[in-house]
Amino acid sequence: MTEVLTNSALQLVLLLLVAPLLSGMIKTLKARLQTRCGPGILQSYRDILKLLRKGMVIPETASWIFSAAPYMVFGTATLVGLMIPMTTTRAPLSLFGGVLAVVYLLALGRFFLALGGLDTGSSFGGLGSSREMTISAIAEPAMMLAIFTVALGANSTNLSEMARIAVTQSWRFLAPSQMLAFAALFIVLIAETGRIPVDNPATHLELTMIHEAMILEYSGPYLALIEWASSIKQLVLMTLLVNTFFPFGLSSDWTVRTVGLGLVFYLAKLLLLACLVVLVETTNAKLRLFRVPELLMVAFILGALALISTFLF
């Protein structure tokens, strides 16, 4: 019992604290790669703290949905984070269908975010919501297909079980199905976290923004919650990617040494993936909005091929 509690506590703390750090890290790395000085790694913490202390402006037209959305988004993101194995193969929570719950809890968060964008009745919010939904309509099936490929290898949709199986066959990622699934999920990661070929996280330019358009009306603590939640979501997706495909160092028992080692490995893997994301972001230009479905279509086909090739190779 204490084991489960410490595991949950550790994971929750990791989730809440590492997520802004990761966002800050990506920003700094990106700035360095573009030979800019950039904000410090800790800037995301400062932003969140500053926003939490500020007052709020709530539009007169907003209903309760506007206030509920930040909590929903934050709640679902954290809940999903607790369902994914981070340093040990056992995730603290395991609800309903495991990986299915992960995908649909994320979808629930996105749904409320889109509602929050629509609720104020401003045109930008609606625009952002409609774009977000367009993208997620294709990104979601691609994500499902890619994750099912992994689940098929483990004969289970439970993420802890998947991680346990993955640890026993650590060179599995060389199989073509795994590689195709990784590629598909990577594109989905880019799309879901609003990174450059799909959305630019650093801009407030009306014509191109997606995520920023939805949260344009939010301010103060609500904005802090949403920003925090989106960095948690990013961490969750990246964890899913590194731990299901490269399960090195995931500890299967509960001792200080193995968990510590697991933590070190986990952070190193995250850093590597962050570097990859930064590289993609810096070397690519943003796609025109109508081209985004094409990119996601590639992800979808890759996911489908991955699923098919598990049966054939």
Partner: protein
Amino acid sequence: MPFAPNPELGNRIITLMAALVLVLQIAAVGQRRIVSSIRIFAVQSFLLGSIAAVIAYFNQASHIYIAALLTVFLKAGLLPRLLERLVERIGIRREIDPLINVPLSILIAGCLTLLGYVVAESFYHPEETSARAALGHNTLAVAIALFLIGFFTMVNRRKALTQVLGLLSLENGLFLAAISLTYGMPLVVEIGIFFDVLVAVMVLGILVFRIGETFDSMDVSKLRKLRE
């Protein structure tokens, strides 16, 4: 035999690289810029050369090394260089406009891959062949998919140069099928094919250049005007 590398490992590496080749092919279908298509083709050819080299290493068939070297040198080095120079001379950097829109094209490419898998299934008898001969047999599906997608690219594109690229990736599929099925055709045949492709690309290059000069465009549908 002094040293026999583990065919299981070889099989894994080959399958992985074949999957990469397939990913590149699908990426090429979704690609709109001519220069990027050419670069994708170069990387794909390089991977094919590597597959040939791996097969040569694990089967200890030294003549395939020559085929691998030729592939890397000609298809990953010389041909892309030639094509890029051609693009520069004609001065087109504009986007490719396919007949069928890109998402649908990618979907069709996925279906063609599926077809490749279905067709290759009937050739696949792992229990009847030895481990060494079975090396790379599972890449046949990828090879057929490359062939079909290459063909589709040729049909789907309007511009002459991109049709040449389709032809080249179709030829890549043939090469992959040949080395994965027979683990190496006789070298004479390989060299014959290489020079065939080289000459074909040169002739097509001149043709494309002429089309560009005459019509100020590379749209092959404008060739209809020649009837009048």
